[in-house]
Symmetry: D2
Subunit: 416 residues, 4 copies
């Protein structure tokens, strides 16, 4: 074992404990009852997130050792999410029915996994191991965000509309004028460069052709979206994709998911709060983002346009680390592209498909991303619930076009 290797193992071990602790911190104000809520099939209970992320390490890291004995073999069935190749799994919509194992048992399970992974990192540092631990941590960070969006949805379903965090002071931000900034055109490279971690779906880095275009300097605001609502956006079929209009009709949508009927307040993780006109609009479906762009005489950016713009931009912004858990108004006076990272995921005009030459991870981990490449759209840039050390320019998030419970908004783009 070389010194270099040891320090790599030490670094990942430190990061391991930091990320795992962070997950617990996010649950600090939540009771065992809160952590069992599953408000819709797309969402999972917090307790399930706590267990599943631990199972991931057990299955893919500790399970590499044939001598490893799991905490309870029956839990494999409960906490496998969608890896068909490692066996059958508990039905997703039924995750909320698992009062057992208890939260205490799950916490104990986490500690066992923490100890075992920590111990393993103290005696082994082959590159494959370190990569798998890093994958497990990136996976856990994804679930941190889901834990927040899922509890937000669950609390919103409770007529008492409880708050997850303390009130957020009202801002006195001013409007930042909308401006379009020309992007690169011609052949550019996108996709992960090869340094640091990336998911398989960000690879291979490849050449792509950008059309002449420009991107808005900031995200679309509540005030702008409110104008769309007030001017009849939800009543005009001509603005919508056909499936979008059908969804608007079927679901009775009249505004973004968490806005109240008065169009003046919204449900947030800090409870109901006056709508801040300058904050980025959030909790939109792709359909709504696309219809708004249409109404505004613009369009959504492609994921290549976005990534090209983000390459070289420092990763900073209103991310999970700020512990605000709510988008924040753009900075007055900043003249460049703002809010690329954080605040709200940006719906793009790009369906989520494979990059040319894409190869999924080998084995069961190949089920992580590739099998979802149908019927979803790419989102870019992270949100107020995304950890800073989890997001990057090449990161591809994806959701079906009707999904609204994520922190998802939009930035306008246009042809030039």
């Amino acid at each position: 074992m070389t010194t270099w290797q040891s320090s790599a193992a030490a670094a990942i071990a430190a990061r391991f404990h930091r990320v795992r602790r962070c997950t617990l911190e996010l649950c600090a104000g939540l009771s065992a009852e809160d952590l069992q809520l599953q408000s819709m099939p797309d969402a999972s209970p917090g307790k399930w997130h706590l267990a599943h992320t631990s199972w991931f390490f057990e299955q893919f890291v500790l399970g590499r050792d044939p001598a490893y004995r799991p905490r309870d073999p029956a839990w494999h069935y409960l906490f496998n999410s969608y890896y068909q190749s490692v066996g059958p799994m508990h039905a997703r919509p039924q995750r909320g029915l698992l009062s057992r194992p208890s939260l205490d048992e799950v916490h104990d399970y986490r500690r066992r996994i923490d100890d075992a992974v920590g111990e393993l990192l103290g005696r082994d540092d082959d590159a494959g191991l370190l990569e798998l631990v890093e994958l497990g941590l990136q996976h856990e960070q994804q679930h941190q965000e889901l834990l927040l969006t899922d509890i937000k949805h669950a609390f919103w379903c409770n007529p008492l509309q409880p708050a997850y965090r303390a009130p957020i002071a009202a801002a006195d931000a001013k409007a930042v004028p909308l401006r379009f900034v020309a992007g690169r055109e011609g052949i550019v490279e996108i996709g992960h460069r090869g340094e640091g971690f990336a998911f398989d779906n960000e690879t291979p880095r490849h050449r792509t052709l950008l059309q002449p275009h420009a991107l808005a300097n900031r995200l679309v605001t509540n005030a702008e979206y409110l104008a769309f609502v007030r001017e009849g956006g939800y009543r005009e079929p001509g603005l919508w994709l056909s499936d979008g209009w059908a969804t608007v009709q079927r679901e009775g949508w009249r505004h973004p998911l968490y806005w109240q009927e008065d169009l003046a307040s919204e449900f947030t993780l800090a409870g109901v709060r006056a709508l801040d006109p300058h904050e980025p609009v959030c909790h939109l479906s792709y359909y709504e983002a696309e219809a708004f762009a249409h109404w505004a005489g613009a369009r959504l950016p492609t994921e290549a346009e976005w990534e090209s713009a983000a390459q070289g931009v420092a990763i900073d912004g209103n991310l999970q680390d700020a512990r605000r858990f709510q988008p924040r108004a753009a900075a007055v006076g900043d003249t460049g592209l703002q809010q690329l990272y954080g605040d709200a995921w940006e719906w793009t005009a790009s369906p989520y498909i494979n990059y040319p030459g894409f190869r999924p991870l080998p084995g069961s981990l190949g089920e992580y991303n590739g099998k979802f490449m149908c019927g979803q759209w790419v989102l870019r840039g992270g949100s107020c619930a995304t950890p800073r050390d989890h997001i990057r320019a090449s990161y591809r998030n994806f959701f079906p076009p009707q999904a609204r419970w994520q922190f998802a908004g939009l930035r306008l783009g246009q042809d030039r």
Copy 2:
């Protein structure tokens, strides 16, 4: 206030505290997580039962005093079950999404209600009050049974199949031969006589005409039902009602709800356990009970036949008070009609409709029973989850024909 009245108030107050305490005792082994489970729209979380039964007293007993101030007006919406005339209510299938109020808050709520009702009974004893308190207690006892059947269903949904109570020792009972006992015929009276409590749907007492008939001396056993299963009962459409057969096909029924695929064991509140051949078969739908009777060359008794047979029989048996929570084999050597009370509710051949001249309770409490008189069938006699001081000869329970999660079995009847 007369002495007689005072003693009536004292008696009801004692009963009030006993019944309320019993509800808590039934929850003793259940965690906050367990008590939040809602495994299907027909079932409710234990915590909701705890709160709703308290709300019932708040709404219909304490709320008679215009000066009464509820614990939290917002809870009215959460814990109203189906009383349209007292206002809108939380959607039934969403009861499991209420992590707040917490179990601790609900326990506190119960204590507040207990204190307030206790205090009220110390200073007031008008007959109307005492009747309403008794109604609230009968209501709470119904929910005690539902709490048990709901937690049984929820635990069964968990692949770990946890147990609610300690294991039940295997019995070495012998089979009690099936025998038919002739019933009364001609005009008889059924319905509540007027002494003691009864629900409105048990009234008025009225004359009805019994055809010549006989009733089986005991409930149908697991061994008998197993013969029906083994001989293809679930594969032969000719044995079933049309809706029943459609349900068998759609749901893939092949045996009673909690039997395992091996037809040799079943899920009980004490966990999975070998099927006892002499115990009454339980957790049948009306469709299954009816198909079995058809197969056996018999029929279900009418509710009037059952009530006529039960009149004058002492209320005793394997009821909730025995804390077994599982049917028990009939007693060898007993030559009369056995198991009329307890073990398993008996599906009857009688649709649940009003008695001639039926008048619902006045006001909102009129919604208690009358509005459900369509599409359900009457069950009689109580089960191993029914309190002894809650059941009576005239008691009419009712469920839709496809319901299986109640402790419901059958007794055969026949024409003579």
Copy 3:
């Protein structure tokens, strides 16, 4: 073969040809396209009715002869309705997808069956045969009514709202005041007496106990029902059964099925027509009939009360034979019970269950009635679409409580 037998065979043969021809006459104005419409799973195409009624004779009459060769064995699957014991069948909701066999082929099939049955009745007259032919004719008469109600529903689904028959002249009837007429009380006999044809579900004749009661002298009118609608009947949950209210909400019911939004006109088999205030209200579900009776401070009659009143009354009225196909106002000046037969089936307060001692027909014909004895309510008296020689005092029609597309209305009853 005796002379008496011959004349019985001759009589049934004449009736056979008359009824079969009547079915064709009812289809006279309908095209092959009209006769293929299936507007909902509960309804069937006219062509299917034409074929199925012929199949019934083929299966149960001609098929008694082992040497009989069917027109096309594949049609057995297509035109079996619900007789599980004679083999599997085409899915009911798919009946509208059978463009082949063509209407011409089905007419040819009918002629083949007519000839074969006619020929059989010329050489055989055993009682079993004659009974089966009569059953087939009663069956065909039931389908005549369904053919009319199904085409009414199908035409109503067409935005052009075509008419089946020529316009009906507007009436200038006056209102007949509502009056209650006392019925018999005590033990009476109901059920078929044994002379002439009856379905198995009308037997056995048996004693039943009538409570003191009275029946309205005529059916409830459009004007009376309109008052219920205008006074908020469809907005007041307290008037409805729980399932009824859920149905009103889910389906958005605000008036009887074929009334227009203006509450002043209705769709009829003669096209859209002004609502006649004195005509019986029609196309109600059980829920609506029951809610109206509740609102009116009355109740629905039981089937025994109805039958007791109808015993001995001549079978006459606005029946299919009048070819009006629309209820007609009660006769001014008639002081007795009017409209017992014809106009609109009368929902009763009686769930459709077996009579005491009921035995279904032997063999496959036992599936005719008995297996539907769950979840439906009895209707009595026939309608403007029922043949006069098909209805009788003991006749028990039955439909689920939400069914509205039959000619179904109500007569009020009350306790005395």
Copy 4:
């Protein structure tokens, strides 16, 4: 009016009558009953296709003249498909309920439209008119194909499985070995060039970047697909997209739509017929095409790869004009790319989205294509049901990934 213009009008008029007559010829063997079938919401009755295509001319060609009076204003509602901006429309799943207007009336309607358009083309030839007539004809040709695929599905739903055309002689073709042909790489242009007709979604022509790749010389055959089926393709989740696997499970798919259970015969427009091993496999969903390619170690081509390969290739093949209505085996001895046009539409790896700079047609016709750019995949090349003068290299067909009732198969592609 110039001579040149007159000849353009004359040419389009001739084409108009030719295409319109062709539609009728395709219906020649179908009865009024056949033409009313709607076997699923995605399909439409033949009669509706006949009427809707005529309505399209009435609305968008004849309706340009404000003095034009439609045949029946009520038909506008019936035969508008999805143009929200010209008014509300009859619900799609209810199209099969329109027995009125009759087929005869629809034929009469077609003649009226034919006459009016013919007359208009005799007196007016402005470019806008000619373009709209051409659009109407291309639209009608699309519906010719749908008429065939819809009647195929409807006949398949009939247990008698009737044939639309006379039997097709069995072929004695030999297998054509699979070979991959390198495609262009680097920047190429795709999209409509500007000569002749194109739909808006084929524009603008634009540059795109092709990765190194190759395409198979012919379509995948039944024999090849059968190997996939026999080797467990439908039982191995690892081969499928997540949504695809869920669909396989939910729908019970085990082979292509029209294959029989014996895997040796298939339902065709000529009735049931032995599966020809060398014919292209057909009636696949995108999911199946993608899973097969995965299993075969290849991938689907992108639409740009396909179009680049097809540019300059003569439009020929087994198209609608051949009146075979069934794919045909590739030609032995042909060494180039075969079957680019005709036989079966080729699923591509490209989601159906807008080309860069896409502008929908102005006005209501902008609803033709653009609003469906979500959740569908592009298919290329036409099928045995596509008219030769309707298909072209830039033609973009699109269907949702679960659609199977189109003549859709696949060609393999691969990275180089």
